[in-house]
Point group: C2
């Protein structure tokens, strides 16, 4: 069975030495933060999720969720007690406002803790994860009455939340959805329709489940302009706000899927269920996007959280398993064979994985910090922070999850045949990571969001700011030979990104298909540059720490080596991606649609 | 549920118009082949495997194999009848010698048919696939008596064969294996030990199972020089050659694994089981390599066979499912939405997949033809053909299976959330394809085989021949603008390959770790160039066919478009791979082993 240790050291390095969280303590929006809190919070969270939650990952996946004939769903053994432990320890309310019973700490700290929970058991973490997003949407759009009724119990974890978007014929294209909501005359609506792929749609962890459902009111305009959002609780709160009458909605079935078996993915049937409008009629999509944008960062975290756990177990196996001898002669002649880790190709896989996971963790935490900063300070500072959140959310989501799958596969590969055996747990990381590339907007949709919307925002302001930050970082890097390779490779990759941006500006307007064919390649280049930028910041911080006589010199040296590996083995891809992008849409669009089918 | 159509048209194109099989009819080694046989054999095989076998793929995976308390194993419902149908139709004896009851046709034709079987149901095809390799090893090394006793019944499919190499502590490093074989004094040996990951190790399809087992005789030298190969039958043939006494071996358990659930992957316990030496004592590894080399090509085929099936279902979904509108405006305003296939990013995934599958099929068939040619003709011709088989077997195995996994994932992605649901079958392609990258020598081991052994053979003769072939093809391509892009991109990629080869010659001898760190990158470049070379040959053939007024112009046009896509979107990777390779081993080797572990 895999074992998991929370990467507290690395997370502290990013928060404390790369993105400067301690210096923000006490400033607007960071009033509850004290610099010396970071370590004990991470240590305690890390210990809890590693010791209590991680051991459940494999058995819970094997057991899965069970739907009973009456439509109720039982989660795997131990989940309910564990849910209550997490809730009571307050791990999911770190960043909630004090007035909502939370601890008022910055979101970035909560984001760091969520990684530990998600690495430990992704399917379990999902019961909490969607609730946070649902709260954000309700807080932002719902009436005071609805907020007062629902938010406190959701914030405390007493109730959970879900997102109900997808219908059988309506996935990415929400304009096609058919679920309807008819006014009951008392301010409530009767919601009728079928929603699919509803994560945590039904379970036995809490006394109530609050569904946020997209539906159409009578006479709503067609397409996405006619979608409204409704709160549809499993039990309708009574006069005291306690769960009252059972609403007419039910879990019709649990999907049998590739992974995340411990999370109940439900078909939800709404049969005139009572719901209340959140925000304005026909403005449901915008409300749902509040939830979705937060969820997208969190799905990116899911991706690299699985990569982290897979990496740890790949590295542990490479240090434990002995096969063959080093190419330069036996390193341990007295043993039956050398450790796997003597083989350069195994080291390549491990260092690739480490460069990906640590680079993406740093980027994810930096973006989470920008989300905090976007809520405080001057209008200009807030706009700049928000620009970065907007621009890089698709990167964290799509590249973070592509990394999740890639690293999970590479680490399974290190285990050889043993990696294919279920009881060793390496194959579960692959199956679980796989969904993260698909849900909350498939990664191809993220690419279109980036290239079709985010680049164009405010006349390209965000990407220009980004270029400026990268150029400034390179210019300020100095002549330290320990990151000279990285500096050069990053400058080159940033040049490819600028050229790709220029190509899009020149070739997109005339033929929008050029935007579509370029989107994924562009996203991958931006992913490389943004991770490379975090690696340069990390390398500089590590070099400074060494110069200051850091007592964990080994950790800092490993940072510098991994940064160089990212420069040597990852950043060169930017050039090839640009060449692919610049080929344009002509070839992909030339193929007649029917020619794609095999007819024998 | 996925549907499968055998790609007969494309297979015929490769055999008849690219690699020139019809022209070989009647020549030495191809005596039984008549040019007009190719089409009806492929048509009939394609029909059979698509109609009869493919529909079993999903339900058989779900049902899996069952081991009973007495150690017997039941395969999924219908397998036994289907096994007999395949056997009786002669689909697995196409290339066996007439004197063994086969049809004496070239191996390349059989290889083409094996793809159809494997696409239709990979786990089912494995019950046959390993038998072929076992026969090859027995034919090549065993005594006349053993050959007479075992080969006819294995060739006819009356008995199946297995490979028993791996032990719990000995995977890639077979030198560590401990299974022992002690002489019984009557010429037989008593074999004792535990073997793991034995595909088709126990089942109910045939009356006997013939295990080829690697073991050590008493006083055998340590390491790989002390390994011998034994035939260990489940039932010891009696005086008439019929299954007699039950041998003391048993299936201890079936592994629970990520995929190929319909194939029984067994832990095999040998408890003084009676076995007979195959070939010379202590020469077992060489004997096993006869089996393994054939098996490696077949595993490459497994990879792209899954890619083919996944591609077909990805394309079908993209033509059927409607979400969103084309970027250039609705293509079918009267429908609720446009087909997925209007989106350039979906087309990119489909065309990538098609370029990979068709390019690798062409390469796989060409290498299979070289294996035929290596057995006939002048010594020089045979050596040249064998060189190509040796050099490119790691490419077909490793790149063919990397393609299998990549395409299976990309096509699952086209299905979105529906691709993650088991009953739609797309996730099974991913789970099944995944093992092909791992078994028969993990892909990293293939890279070391290529770079450490194959490049050096006969002073680099094989790679020099290869360069010559590619250069000649480019030079002969002429100025046809329909493949001008491909010609240029291939010349550039071949230049990268030459430079990478030079780098290895200059940097390998001084530091063998440079060979290890470069191996996978080098293999990927060679994979791109060899597929690009097949694409150039394919494009030329398609252009010729169009000039000759081909009646399936659409097929030929699609070839030309796909060839250009390979040039624009795949070959550019060669340059980035070379840059990674030339970074050398310094960085990956610098990291101290213990620094790879996460300690919090």
């Amino acid at each position: 069975m895999p074992t998991y240790t929370a990467p507290v050291r690395d997370t502290r390095f990013v928060l404390e030495q790369v993105i400067g969280l301690p210096e923000l303590a006490g400033k607007p929006g960071f009033e509850a933060l004290e610099a010396d809190m970071i370590e004990p919070i991470l240590e305690e969270a890390g210990r809890f999720f590693a010791e209590v939650v991680a051991p459940t990952n494999l058995p819970a996946d094997k057991e899965g969720c069970t739907r009973h004939e009456d439509g109720t769903v039982t989660t795997p053994a131990g989940f309910k007690a564990m849910y209550e432990q997490v809730r009571d320890a307050g791990w999911t309310t770190l960043a909630m406002p004090v007035e909502r019973g939370g601890q008022g700490l910055p979101g970035v700290l909560s984001f760091a803790v969520e990684e530990f929970m998600t690495s430990a058991n992704m399917a379990f973490g999902m019961y909490f994860g969607l609730t946070s997003g649902a709260i954000e949407a309700i807080e932002a759009r719902a009436s005071d009455e609805l907020r007062a009724l629902y938010v406190p119990k959701m914030a405390s974890g007493q109730w959970t939340g879900t997102m109900n978007l997808t219908e059988p014929h309506a996935g990415t294209d929400l304009g096609l959805l058919r679920t309807r909501a008819e006014p009951n005359g008392d301010g409530s609506f009767a919601v009728t329709g079928t929603k699919i792929f509803i994560s945590s749609g039904e379970h036995d962890l809490t006394e109530n489940i609050i569904h946020l459902v997209l539906a159409r009111t009578p006479d709503a305009p067609k397409g996405v302009k006619g979608i409204s959002m409704f709160i549809v609780p499993k039990f309708i709160p009574d006069a005291d706000g306690n769960p009252g009458q059972r609403n007419s909605l039910s879990c019709g079935s649990i999907e049998e899927k590739m992974g995340i078996h411990a999370n109940a993915t439900c078909v939800m049937n709404y049969d005139g269920a009572t719901g209340w409008l959140v925000g304005d009629e026909n403005k449901g999509l915008a409300a749902m996007f509040i939830m979705m944008n937060a969820a997208r960062l969190w799905v990116g975290l899911q991706g690299y959280s699985q990569a982290e756990n897979a990496y740890q177990n790949g590295a542990a196996y490479a240090l434990d398993r002995r096969q063959g001898r080093a190419l330069t002669g036996p390193t341990e002649p007295g043993e039956i064979a050398d450790q796997l880790i003597v083989h350069p190709d195994v080291r390549r896989l491990l260092l690739d994985s480490r460069a990906r996971v640590e680079g993406m963790r740093a980027l994810g935490l930096w973006v989470a910090l920008q989300a905090d900063l976007s809520r405080h300070g001057s209008e200009e500072d807030r706009a700049k922070a928000d620009d970065m959140v907007q621009l890089l959310t698709p990167i964290v989501k799509a590249i973070g999850t592509d990394i999740g799958m890639r690293v999970a596969c590479d680490m399974q590969q290190v285990w050889g045949g043993h990696g294919y055996i279920a009881e060793n747990g390496m194959e579960q990381f692959v199956r679980d990571a796989r969904i993260t590339q698909i849900y909350e907007g498939a990664n191809g949709v993220q690419a279109m969001d980036l290239v079709g919307r985010k680049l164009a925002m405010h006349g390209g302001r965000a990407i220009q700011t980004f270029f400026g930050m990268v150029d400034k970082e390179i210019a300020a890097a100095g002549e330290d030979e320990r990151f000279a390779t990285l500096k050069g490779a990053l400058a080159k990759a940033n040049g490819e990104l600028k050229a790709a941006s220029m190509w899009l500006m020149q070739n997109g307007p005339a033929n929008p298909n050029n935007i579509g064919s370029a989107a994924y390649h562009y996203m991958e280049i931006l992913g490389l540059v943004s991770m490379g930028w975090m690696w340069l910041r990390s390398a500089k911080s590590a070099a400074s720490a060494l110069a200051d006589g850091a007592d964990d010199a080994g950790f800092m040296e490993a940072k510098l080596i991994t940064a160089r590996h990212f420069a040597e083995s990852h950043l060169p891809e930017a050039g090839a991606l640009r060449r692919k992008l610049e080929a344009g849409a002509a070839t992909v669009m030339e193929m007649p649609a029917e020619a794609f089918a095999r007819n024998g």
